[in-house]
Assembly symmetry: C3
Homo-oligomer: 255 residues x 3
């Protein structure tokens, strides 16, 4: 069974290695896939966005562990879930917001007690002491319900929603990727072929793919997850526009 | 079966995780090795150099996926190949140049149609939608020829070739590694024991290993892939010399 | 069998991929876990600290490879060890210091001859040519003693030891993690509930977890490995204090 890891730990301190050790100690045959360890420290919305890009591409059986956990050891709960057959484990702080919104079938449980955690649970590293061993047990077939009671009030982030206004859609940038592409919260189908996209006072047209524009020219397209995306061919749109998450994006319908 | 991944995606956006999901959805038992995701964005020559350092160290069966793909969704083809028994998948943009040059036995096919891709192929993310599923199918034993027609005109990069001139060899730096070592296109056997190496107006002698020189001293040696390499013991030769890819390197034969 | 890799190679040059290839060429079923490749170049003490955080969390059978090896190709020896049932492979330069100190049962051997290395051993890349193949052989069940003679004088780093003085403990920062937490060499049990911790002229109290302090406030706590740690909630203590490895830390007992 596959276990995937998403964290904001980076890899240089060995925290990820400790999680892998804790998983394989219980589930020696588990294959652990690094999803990412480069979520910005404590950036739960980024973690939620990234997780939403792959959780359903994996087919069951799979356990997705997601640990962006600035509140570790405090009052936040630990949860596990089954969403359309995929299992998930992590803190109850909104990291699973987009998964929970997208899932057709969903059960969420609170992780209680110490039956499935490491012997001594630290107050600063639940990735190793709680989430990794719970994921290992789930990968071995543990029933979700054995972890604790069902909950229906898991923490959800408030996600920015695009607003329609006559022939305009007002949205914003929700993620900037490593290429400097500005990914927006505007579904690409709201921007037809002739639409114009305005961001940071610049206007650009719709393209089908990066190479439809000349190098250095701004373009908008249907990104790989169905959202409108603003890019520069062979360039970095985020740097060029000095735009980041939250930047306003307006779509004007074509004529 | 092993599948390796080389990309310029970084890991923070989840693009790599989506590829891993697409592979394991089809080939649940495949072990996916991260080769690297840190190729500079769009740097096909760097990807080609790095890939050439490991593709043949793996023994068959193995599928190497290489996705540095600035032209995704445009006119470039998708290809797969069998090179000395190893399978390869990626864009037809030169990323396989060094593999194709080095291979004794080589078949290359163009990937056509949608029999082995994901249902909906985006125009911006063929890593997930084309190359990952094709790699998964190959790892499960799909015959290369089933993917499409054999081609003999795959795109090849023009690689810089060293030039010999009396007792000199004129080459250049082709890769700078994370330690600041300057790796050149000059085969190390062209630089005998007494040879002198000139780079950025500085001259250095040949050493057998990094620790043959005092700390801080420039030295040249036979790097791990048989090419002449310029280094500084416990230092960063690239920073020290302000030299990068393309910097001229001259070898003067010993006497 | 699991094989873990710790290096200072980064991933962008393909050195790690070459090691993985060398392992899987011999041991196709081995699962290779990346522990970290982000140890600072040549930073043996950091490698030793990070390795110590996970080597024992893995249950046998496991082979931990650790390659931070500025002296590669020079006079340093290559060693392998069995420590409380876990196998280890790497250079004899102190990288295993904390493992060897912590282990109850320990055998260390020098790797001699070329029976278990790659055919041609380069003088600059023993990760690929020596340590990876030796790890692969060990993962397949090779007896440790087959590699070479037992040694009892493996290189050990001199680790900074905290000093007690009346009601004070004088220690220092031994690791700064990616969150900017300052991890000290002072066992947390030496800092009772009412203790005060002084670092860089600033004083802070003990907390149980990060969220016990208001955002932006300095706190000290029992880190995930039992050592006293200085942090800022939702902040970066290392940047805030301009403190790094070696910074003095003083604990004043509570009253």
């Amino acid at each position: 069974v596959r276990v995937t890891l998403l964290t904001d730990f980076g890899t240089r301190d060995g925290y990820v290695a400790a999680m892998k050790g804790a998983i394989s100690a219980l589930a020696p045959a588990a294959i652990v896939d690094d999803a990412t360890h480069d979520i910005a420290a404590g950036d739960i919305p980024a973690g939620a966005w990234v997780l939403a890009g792959y959780w359903r591409i994996y087919e069951p059986p799979v356990v997705h562990v997601a640990v962006v956990d600035p509140g570790v050891g405090g009052g936040r709960q630990a949860i596990a879930a089954r969403a359309d057959g995929r299992l998930l484990v992590g803190p109850d702080n909104g990291i699973f917001t987009r998964v929970f919104h997208a899932a057709s079938e969903l059960q969420v449980v609170r992780i209680e007690g110490d039956a499935f955690t490491r012997e001594a649970v630290s107050s600063t590293f639940h990735g190793r002491d709680v989430f990794a061993p719970v994921a290992a047990h789930l990968s071995l077939g543990l029933e979700l319900e054995r972890l604790g009671p069902l909950v229906d009030n898991a923490v959800l982030l408030e996600l920015p929603v695009p607003r329609r206004d006559h022939s305009h859609v007002h949205g914003e940038v929700i993620h900037v990727d490593r290429f400097g592409n500005l990914i927006t919260n505007i579904p690409a189908e709201l921007a037809g072929a002739g639409a114009r996209v305005i961001v940071c006072g610049r206007m650009c047209g719709m393209a089908r793919t990066y190479s439809d524009a000349p190098p250095g020219e701004l373009l908008a397209l249907d990104g790989s997850r169905g959202m409108l995306e603003v890019s520069i061919r062979d360039g970095d749109a985020a740097s060029f526009l000095a735009a980041g998450r939250g930047a306003a994006v307006i779509v004007e319908a074509g004529t």
